[in-house]
C-alpha cells in the first residue's frame, strides 16, 4: 500500500504516467512505425513550446489564478523583437533576441500583476482584457504582417537550423531542447526550494493565511506575473525559431488547450496544488495523442475530442476523490499523515 501510494504521487503523477505507458504500448502494438527515433523526436519537438507555456500556467494556477493572456504576451514579445531587429538591420545575437523579448514579456506580465494584485480582481477576467489589449496593440501599431525566414535576423535562422542530434532519414532533435530543459529544472527548483516558490503555494492555498504569516501577497503576485510574462516571451521566441517565421496572428487562441494540459497534469484550479512533473506528463500526453492518434487507426479529426474526454475523465477522478475526502475526512487525514 505504502509503495502504491508513493507511486501514485501527490498529484496523481503516477496515474498519469501509467496512462501514458498504456497509450504508448497501444500505439506500439497498433503500429510498428511508432517505436522509431523519428516519432520520439517529433514528440519532443512539438512539446517544447507548449511545455514552456504550461510552466507559466502552472505557476499561475498554483497561486490560485488563471491566466489567458500568456499567448498574447508570447507573440507580442517575440514578434516585436524580431520585427525591430529586422527593421533596424541589427542582429543582437540569439542571446540578445531572447533578452529583449524577455524584458518585453516581463513588462507586460508586470502590468497583469499590478492590476490583479493591486485591485484584487478576478485573474481570468483581467487577463482576458489584457489579452485583447496586448494583441490589439501588437497588430494595430507594431505589425500585422508575416515575417518569413528570409527576412529574419541571421542569428534566429541559425538557431532554427541548430540541431542536437541529426539522424539522416529518421529525424532530428532540435537544440531548443536545451533551454527548455533548463527552464523545466529551474521552475521545479524554484517551486521546491525557494521562499518565493513556497510563497506561491501558500498564497494559492489560502491567501489570508499567507498574509498573516507575513508573506507579502501583493509583491509576490506581481513578481509571479512578471516571471510568467518572461516565461511566455521565451516560449514565443522558441516558437518563432521552431516555426521559422514570425506570424503575429498565431498562438492566441491556444490558451485553453495549454490550461487543459496543465489541469490534466494534476494542478488544482483552486490553487495550492500542482507539480512540474505532472505538468510535463500532461503536456506529453496531449502531444502524444495529437501526434500519433492516427497510428491507433483513429482519424486525426478525433484529436480534440480525445483530449476533451481525457480532461473530463481526469478532473472527474479528482472531483470524486475530493467528494470522498469530504465524506470521510478522518481516513483521508490519516492517509495524508502517512504520506507526510
Amino acid at each position: 500500500m505504502e509503495l502504491l501510494r508513493r507511486l501514485r504521487g501527490a498529484n496523481n503523477e503516477g496515474v498519469l504516467l501509467a496512462v501514458i505507458i498504456v497509450v504508448v504500448v497501444a500505439m506500439a502494438l497498433a503500429s510498428p512505425a511508432f517505436f522509431t527515433a523519428g516519432t520520439f523526436f517529433a514528440l519532443v519537438r512539438s512539446s517544447l513550446v507548449p511545455l514552456v507555456f504550461a510552466l507559466g500556467v502552472l505557476l499561475v494556477l498554483i497561486s490560485g489564478g488563471i491566466d489567458v493572456s500568456f499567448p498574447a504576451i508570447a507573440i507580442f514579445a517575440a514578434y516585436t523583437t524580431v520585427a525591430w531587429s529586422t527593421e533596424a538591420s541589427f542582429d543582437p545575437t540569439i542571446v540578445g533576441i531572447f533578452a529583449i523579448a524577455l524584458v518585453i514579456g516581463a513588462a507586460l506580465g508586470a502590468l497583469n500583476g499590478v492590476v490583479i494584485a493591486r485591485f484584487r480582481l478576478p485573474t481570468l477576467i483581467v487577463t482576458l482584457g489584457t489579452q485583447g489589449v496586448f494583441q490589439g496593440i501588437l497588430l494595430a501599431y507594431i505589425g500585422s504582417t508575416y515575417i518569413a525566414a528570409s527576412r529574419m535576423p541571421q542569428s534566429v535562422n541559425d538557431a532554427s537550423g541548430a540541431l542536437l542530434v541529426d539522424i539522416p532519414g529518421a529525424g532530428f532533435l532540435h537544440a531548443m531542447l536545451i533551454p527548455v530543459v533548463l527552464i523545466v529544472v529551474g521552475v521545479w527548483w524554484m517551486l521546491r526550494y525557494t521562499t518565493f516558490g513556497r510563497s506561491i503555494f501558500a498564497i494559492g492555498g489560502d491567501t489570508e493565511a499567507a498574509r498573516r504569516v507575513g508573506i507579502k501577497v501583493v509583491r509576490t503576485q506581481v513578481l509571479l506575473y512578471v516571471l510568467v510574462g518572461a516565461l511566455a516571451a521565451i516560449g514565443g521566441v522558441i516558437s518563432v525559431i521552431l516555426g521559422r517565421n514570425a506570424n503575429p496572428q498565431t498562438l492566441v487562441g491556444t490558451e485553453l488547450d495549454i490550461i487543459a494540459a496543465v489541469v490534466l497534469g494534476g494542478a488544482s484550479i483552486f490553487g495550492g496544488r500542482g507539480s512540474v512533473v505532472g505538468t510535463v506528463l500532461g503536456v506529453l500526453l496531449v502531444q502524444l495523442i495529437n501526434n500519433n492518434l492516427v497510428l491507433l487507426g483513429i482519424p486525426s479529426t478525433w484529436q480534440r475530442a480525445a483530449v476533451g474526454i481525457l480532461l473530463i475523465a481526469g478532473v472527474s477522478v479528482q472531483a470524486i476523490a475530493t467528494a470522498r475526502a469530504r465524506r470521510h475526512p478522518k481516513a483521508m487525514l490519516e492517509e495524508e499523515l502517512v504520506k507526510a
Partner: protein, 370 residues
C-alpha cells in the same frame, strides 16, 4: 431536539441571513443597467458626432441590430451560469453543434424526401437544434452537479469534447444548407428593426422573467450568492445547477440558429473568438463573476454597446485590432472602477498585515483606557 441541532440550525439561519443581506446589498440592478445605458448613449453619441454620415446611416444601424443578437445570446448563456457562481466555456461549441445539427438534418431530409418536405419540417428541424443545445447543457449539468467537477473545468473539457465531436462529424469542413425560414428571419425587419434583434429582446424578456419571477430564478440567484445558505434553506443544489446549465445550453442552441440565419452554413470552428467576448460582455453588463448577481438588461445593453463600438470603429476607419484594445481597456476599466467604488461603500476593509497590526495596537489602548 438536541442542543447540537438547535445550534446548527441557528448557524444555518445566521448564514441564511447573511446571504439575504448580501443579496439585498447587491440590489444594484438599476445602478448597473443605468450605467450601461449611459455608456451606450455616450459611445453612440461620440460616433454619431465624429462620423454622422457613415455611422447614422440606417444601414449601419440595422447592421448593429443584426450582428448584436448572436453574441448577445451567448453572453446571456454565460450570464446565467455566472449567476450560480459558475461559467460556461462550452457555449460556443454548443451553438455550433446546434447549427451543425440543423444544417445536417435539413440537408439529409431534402436529399431523401425532397426539399419541400424538409421545408415543411422546418420547425421540427429547428427544435431539434435547440434540443441538442439542451442535451449538451445537460451533459455539463450532470458533470457539474452529480460528478461534482468545478464548472470552469467541466466546460473547459466539454468545450474540447463538443468542438472535437463537431470536427469529427463535419470532417473539419464548412457544411451549408438550412431551412429557408432561418435566412428569412435573418433578412426580415419589424418596423425597421431587424427580426434577429426582436428575437434577442424576446429571449431576454423570457430569461429575466425566469430569473426574477420564478422560484427557479430565486434558487439560481441564492445558489450563487450563498451556496451554504441555499443548502440550509432546503434548495436542491443538484437540481438548480442542472437546470441552470440546461438553460444555458438552450440559449446556446438558439444562438446557433442565429448563426444559420445570418449565413446558412455551419462549421465546428465558427466564432472561436466569441467565448472570450461573451465573458467580456457578461461582466461589462454587471454580472458578478463570483455569482449571485446579474442583470439581463445590463448584458443586452453591453452587447449592444460593444457592437456600437465595433461599427463605430469601422466608421472611423479604425481596425479590428483597435477594437480589441478598446474591449480590453473597457473591461479592465469597469472592473477597477467597480472595485474602487465597492471598497468605498464597504466600511471595514479586509484586514491586511498593517490594519491587523493597528487593530492589535488599538486593542491595547482600549484596555488602558479608564
Amino acid at each position: 431536539m438536541s442542543d447540537l441541532d438547535t445550534k446548527s440550525m441557528r448557524n444555518g439561519n445566521r448564514k441564511l441571513d447573511g446571504g439575504v443581506q448580501s443579496l439585498v446589498s447587491r440590489i444594484q440592478v438599476p445602478r448597473a443597467s443605468a450605467r450601461m445605458v449611459i455608456i451606450l448613449l455616450v459611445t453612440f453619441a461620440v460616433f454619431a458626432v465624429l462620423r454622422p454620415s457613415v455611422f447614422l446611416n440606417p444601414l449601419n444601424l440595422q447592421n448593429i441590430g443584426v450582428a448584436a443578437p448572436e453574441i448577445g445570446l451567448l453572453s446571456l448563456a454565460i450570464t446565467i451560469a455566472m449567476l450560480t457562481g459558475g461559467i460556461d466555456l462550452s457555449i460556443v461549441a454548443i451553438a455550433n453543434a446546434s447549427a451543425i445539427t440543423v444544417s445536417t438534418l435539413y440537408t439529409a431530409i431534402s436529399a431523401s424526401s425532397g426539399e419541400a418536405t424538409a421545408e415543411s419540417l422546418a420547425i421540427v428541424i429547428i427544435l431539434a437544434g435547440v434540443a441538442v443545445g439542451a442535451a449538451l447543457g445537460a451533459v455539463n449539468g450532470v458533470l457539474i452537479s452529480v460528478v461534482g467537477i468545478t464548472p470552469i473545468l467541466t466546460t473547459l473539457g466539454t468545450m474540447q469534447l463538443f468542438n472535437g465531436l463537431a470536427l469529427v462529424f463535419t470532417g473539419g469542413v464548412t457544411i451549408s444548407g438550412a431551412p429557408s425560414l432561418l435566412p428569412e428571419i435573418g433578412r426580415a425587419t419589424l418596423a425597421g428593426v431587424p427580426m434577429l434583434f426582436v428575437v434577442l429582446i424576446l429571449v431576454a424578456i423570457a430569461l429575466s422573467v425566469l430569473i426574477d419571477r420564478t422560484p427557479l430564478g430565486r434558487k439560481i440567484q441564492l445558489q450563487g450568492a450563498n451556496p451554504v445558505a441555499a443548502r440550509y434553506s432546503g434548495i436542491s443544489q443538484r437540481k438548480t445547477l442542472m437546470l441552470t446549465y440546461i438553460a444555458s445550453g438552450v440559449l446556446g442552441g438558439i444562438a446557433g440558429l442565429l448563426f444559420l440565419s445570418r449565413n446558412p452554413s455551419a462549421s465546428a470552428d465558427y466564432g472561436s473568438s466569441y467565448i472570450l467576448l461573451a465573458i467580456v460582455i457578461a461582466v461589462l453588463g454587471g454580472t458578478n463573476p463570483n455569482g449571485g448577481f446579474a442583470t439581463v438588461t445590463g448584458v443586452v445593453l453591453a452587447a449592444l454597446t460593444l457592437q456600437v463600438v465595433s461599427s463605430g470603429f469601422t466608421a472611423l476607419r479604425l481596425s479590428a485590432y483597435e477594437y480589441a484594445i478598446a474591449q480590453g481597456v473597457l473591461l479592465v476599466a469597469v472592473l477597477v472602477f467597480d472595485q474602487i467604488s465597492f471598497r468605498r461603500r464597504k466600511k471595514p476593509p479586509l484586514p491586511t498585515t498593517e490594519t491587523a497590526a493597528i487593530a492589535v495596537e488599538n486593542r491595547g489602548k482600549d484596555r488602558t483606557r479608564p
